[in-house]
């Protein structure tokens, strides 16, 4: 009996230490953002703010200087929204239709295509970037909103298609047969039968894309153009700019503001989020 109690204590001790490790960054981000700079310089990083106030947050949002412009990161927030919303809608719509076609319409070489898509999900961006820059430039969309959206759709397609394909392939084949006997065609079956059966997998896909695209840095930096830089890129420019005195409280406030969107999505959707990040590779 005694060894059991010691075992339980050990388990909770381990969990407590782990929890501390996981919460440290959030803790120091929040406390730092609520302090003033003198307090940061003189006090220690773990101390609670003496006079908590949100002035650093307001500055980070609307008046911190990134390069020459002193408008805070609110512009980045808007840019990220403008990039994310169409990218998510387009990639999820195309991928679900695509997954449905691959799963249920007995297309020849579907297996080969799935294999290639799977491989596509693993290719490091670095191998593709320069040719993609040339391609988008040729099309006249390099450095524009449509350009970055097209790139996100392209890179989202493989994993999303696999997720949808696996979902539709797991449905009983009789559904498809019954619909065919009833005389429904490709789009009718998709709209009237398959889509209404897919809310959960749609949520998984949307969450995966929302967090993925919001958190993207590299693609936005390269393809979005200077006027459309996403929030992550602006955040990095703000914090890692080499000149001027570092305002750690403003930096941390900006970091929290950037992390807020995906964090809220995660907290609101827990289970679906986990399914999304694991299903792409686990089921594949």
């Amino acid at each position: 009996m005694n060894s059991k109690i010691i075992g339980r204590i050990g388990i909770y001790a381990f969990l407590a230490v782990s929890t501390a490790f996981f919460l440290i960054p959030v803790y120091i981000m929040v406390t730092t953002s609520l302090k003033g700079m003198p307090e940061i310089r003189e006090g220690n990083i773990f101390a609670l703010p003496l006079d908590p106030n949100f002035s650093a947050w307001f500055k980070a949002w609307s008046s911190a200087c990134i390069g020459m412009a002193c408008d805070g990161i609110r512009g980045g927030f808007g840019n990220s929204l403008k990039i994310m919303v169409p990218s998510v809608i387009l990639s999820v719509a195309l991928s679900s239709l695509n997954g449905y076609a691959l799963a249920l319409w007995n297309v020849r070489r579907a297996e080969l295509m799935l294999g290639l898509l799977m491989a596509g999900a693993f290719i490091p961006y670095q191998v593709l970037l320069y040719p993609l820059v040339i391609m988008t430039r040729t099309l006249g969309i390099y450095g524009t909103l449509p350009g970055i959206i097209a790139i996100h759709v392209l890179f989202g397609l493989p994993v999303l298609t696999l997720i949808f394909r696996n979902f539709y392939a797991s449905l009983p084949t009789e559904i498809m047969k019954a619909a065919r006997v009833d005389g429904a065609g490709f789009m009718q079956i998709y709209w009237r039968i398959m889509l209404p059966m897919s809310p959960s997998i749609l949520v998984v896909a949307v969450i995966l894309q929302v967090t993925g695209i919001w958190n993207d840095y590299l693609l936005g930096l390269i393809f979005a153009g200077r006027d459309n830089l996403p929030m992550t890129a602006q955040l990095n420019n703000l914090v890692n700019s080499t000149f001027g005195e570092k305002e750690y409280n403003v930096n941390m406030a900006a970091t929290i503001l950037t992390a807020a969107t995906p964090l809220l999505v995660y907290l609101a959707s827990g289970r679906y989020f986990v399914r999304g990040i694991t299903s792409g590779a686990v089921k594949g």
């Binding site: 388990i11 440290i24 960054p25 007995n106 040719p131």
Partner: protein, 290 residues
Amino acid sequence: MLSFRAKLPALVTITLTTVAAIGIMLVAISWTGVISFTKTQLIPRYEFVGFTQYVRLFDTERFHVAFSNLFIYGGCFISITLAFGFLLAIMIDQRIRAESLFRTIFLYPLSMSFIVTGLAWQWFMNPTLGLQKFVRDLGFADFSFDWLINPDKAIYAIVIAAVWQSSGLVMAILLAGLRGIDRDIWKATAIDGIPAWRTYLSIVLPMLRPMVMTCVVLLAMAVVKAYDLVVALTRGGPGNASDLPAKFVIDLTFERANIGMASAAAVMLLMTTIAVVAPYVAYSFHKLRR
């Protein structure tokens, strides 16, 4: 049997999505491959120079730093994350209280951008105002935690941040695996008198092999793609001490306008990726067909 007419919309859909995406990616890869054999610097110049770019690449000090960092970083990150994530999964699986709260806490870093992760840890490890100062203020004047500005340690600073971000993923995948194990197996080991640690090591871990494989591949992909985290946490510094291939390629392409050599490095990166994931892709493809 489906007639061609009935199938036509499906074929059109697939052509416009799958085939187009695969096509663009194949073209882009080949293009990068071709460029790696040309003299291209800032703009494409299709003057073939054989393996010259690769030779130049191998003569570049920074390339060696980046690739050896890839293996140091990859080795440390993958092994620590796997071990830590597995431990977390085991602990969570002990019918604990507030399980979902712990799960939520262990998983939330996954929803964050690498940029955010990098900046948060950069602040924590800040040598003048971060942990080092805190411990010194406690009275340990000799305490030193300067990994961010220490060329020998900077890469390990990245490992810490990456472990923080990814352990939850391993925990989630392996926890699902643990929950899927037949409870009679546990009873059987109790009857056989096998201690818990031995059961985990000799019976459970082998049973979880497919999930561990999945974790390894996901983590390995994160290693190969590691760019944002380096940029935010160390900017590859001090000097090039914490450089990684993904960053090396991007810098060469967009900052140094050395696209021929960047393409050669990208091809090397692709080769590394293929070596890591080809067996896995082949395996899951095989499973998909059955």
